[in-house]
Symmetry: C2
Subunit: 140 residues, 2 copies
DNA sequence: CTTATTTCAGTGGCACTGAAATAG
DNA sequence: CCTATTTCAGTGGCACTGAAATAA
């Protein structure tokens, strides 16, 4: 009997959280904090609301992480001159330095996870994960 | 720039938790509780330690869920006559009835998630998720 | 003595809902 | 007025580590 895909996703996510959590703890980062730094590195200037939408979490959750990272001076938030309340986040030099170290640790786990797959299989996995998200987002 | 597979898995898992959590709340079950009932339905008589190994969580976490479900009389735990401390879990009739209703709700979300994929894509997704788990378990 | 299983107790990650203040 | 953004406050899910008792 084939287990549900949602069960398999949950199992992998738990494993990934544990492994990434350990790897990132050495750098003083939680997984959510790392993810936020990583997203901002690729898309600098995102507001809290934009970050939340992109990560599929509530603005309240996103804000908690941003606040911590700002207090640690890993990012700064500058008021958007055109929109009153909007504050756009960008990494500081310290944030970029820490992210570079954390990236190396994460890459190592990611490589281990994908070691048994061909390039085609990795692409199929990415595509299928994207498709699954779209199926749930559009429907909800 | 392609996001990491671990990021995509995390996003999908969050979405899935939210949707499944809501669907299951109508039946008074958390996702972890539902999963436990579902696994026991397929593999009756598992001990707490076996359940934990299969689900890739600690025995402490598994035991918390089993205790709650036992208190609610959705499963019972019977001492193994051959092994002193081992208690094998099995669903009660009430547990099976509740699981059947919850299964329908979960299937609906699962179908929505997989709606945009062909049969080959679904199989590729299952295979890749399994391969990713093996890569992390063997390596750790 | 060593190992596996169960279980009590405490902690941490991190998401959620609700509600309020602010700005366009 | 209505909507979007930010943020304070509280709650919930659920995993974790540590430690102890029990049994093969």
């Amino acid at each position: 009997v084939a287990p549900r895909v949602s069960y398999l996703v949950g199992r992998l996510d738990r494993l990934l959280r544990r492994r990434l959590g350990r790897a990132l703890a050495d750098h003083g980062l939680s997984l959510a904090e790392y993810t936020t730094l990583s997203v901002l590195s690729a898309r600098t200037g995102l507001s809290n609301a934009q970050l939340a939408r992109r990560s599929l979490i509530t603005p309240q959750s996103a804000n908690e992480v941003l606040t911590r990272l700002e207090e640690r001076r890993l990012l700064r938030r500058v008021a958007d001159p055109e929109h009153g309340r909007v504050r756009r986040a960008e990494l500081t030099a310290a944030g970029r330095r820490l992210l570079a170290k954390a990236d190396a640790a994460v890459d190592s786990v990611e490589r281990e996870m994908l070691a048994g797959m061909t390039g085609a299989e990795r692409k199929a996995l990415r595509d299928a994960l994207g498709s699954a998200v779209r199926g749930l987002v559009d429907g909800a």
